[in-house]
């Protein structure tokens, strides 16, 4: 079972990547560039039309309703490993 984190997606700097924004456990933002293979979204985002989507994560640790997760690429704000709320995850086959 793969695990996915809710996020917002816009086009990246290259055609094979996207700009991804999400929230950490304390409601501060993280952002990164990620390849398409690590993302799920229903329609192609454009610069002026972000789409809601999911980014692939690997869970590293859990404490109560908080999860330490690895993202596919490092964030601009906080490295590759961040803490999020459990409710932000979505399981997908």
């Amino acid at each position: 079972m793969e695990e996915w984190l809710k996020c917002t997606i816009t086009p990246g700097q290259f055609s094979g990547e996207y700009a991804v924004q999400g929230e950490m456990f304390d409601d501060t933002s993280f952002s990164l560039f990620a390849p398409k293979k690590d993302l799920k979204f229903s329609e192609e985002p454009t610069a002026d039309k972000p789409v809601k989507g999911l980014i692939r994560i690997v869970q590293c640790a859990q404490k109560d309703d908080l999860l330490l997760v690895n993202l596919p690429r490092p964030t601009f704000e906080n490295g590759r490993t961040i803490t999020v709320k459990k409710e932000q995850l979505k399981k997908a086959n």
């Binding site: 501060t28 933002s29 404490k63």
Partner: protein, 195 residues
């Protein structure tokens, strides 16, 4: 420890290093004009897309909360390099590009793990071309094309052709097991940040 060309080929055969498309031929033979491997390096080629930062009144502020990735993307312009129509990189100009090759450094086979470092080529450097100036490291588990930070410090324009040999990759063996670095959680403000 830096891998020799023989060890690089072994790593390719074992799947501990994946380069797609795989640079060929592995050795220079009679009548072969170009071989991408030297004693301990592999030449990488320039992909067909570059991105050019836009001039503007904006400023990047990594201390501000917000979508840094989107801000950077919105303030850059993608351009596709067409064969026989190179991009003319003027003196002092900065663009981003990607390698043609996708690099994978899988860790699922266990140690020894591999990391890599991208470096420029001396022939291009003599003309003033930098292909990276701060971020050469390719971490174990990486999968993807490598982004090149290209700047022309020379006194004359430099023509960027898609498919040209632009950089070289050095493969290194990582000593020991791997564990995520707690310093990656540095900006999280509570102890929960270091679960």
């Amino acid at each position: 420890m830096i891998l020799s060309n023989i060890e690089i080929h072994k790593a390719l055969d074992e799947g501990r290093l994946v380069i797609e498309p795989e640079p060929k031929p592995r050795y220079k033979e009679v009548g072969v004009k170009y071989c991408p491997y030297d004693t301990h390096t592999i030449d990488l080629k320039l992909g067909d897309e570059i991105t050019i930062p836009k001039e503007g009144t904006y400023a990047y502020d990594f201390m501000a909360s917000g979508n840094v990735a989107d801000l950077i993307a919105k303030n850059s312009e993608k351009r596709t390099l067409i064969p026989d129509q190179p991009y003319r990189l003027k003196t002092g100009d900065f663009v981003l590009a990607q390698t043609l090759e996708t690099i994978k450094l899988p860790i699922d086979k266990g140690p020894p793990y591999l990391a890599a470092r991208i470096e420029g080529k001396s022939s291009r450097a003599r003309c003033g071309l930098l292909v990276h100036f701060t971020a050469p490291t390719v971490h174990p588990e990486w999968e993807g094309q490598l982004t090149l930070e290209i700047i022309n410090l020379g006194k004359t324009p430099f023509l960027l052709h898609s498919g040209m040999a632009i950089a070289q990759l050095i493969i290194e063996q990582v000593y020991g097991e791997l564990k995520s670095n707690p310093s990656q959680f540095q900006k999280q403000s509570t102890p929960e940040g270091t679960l």
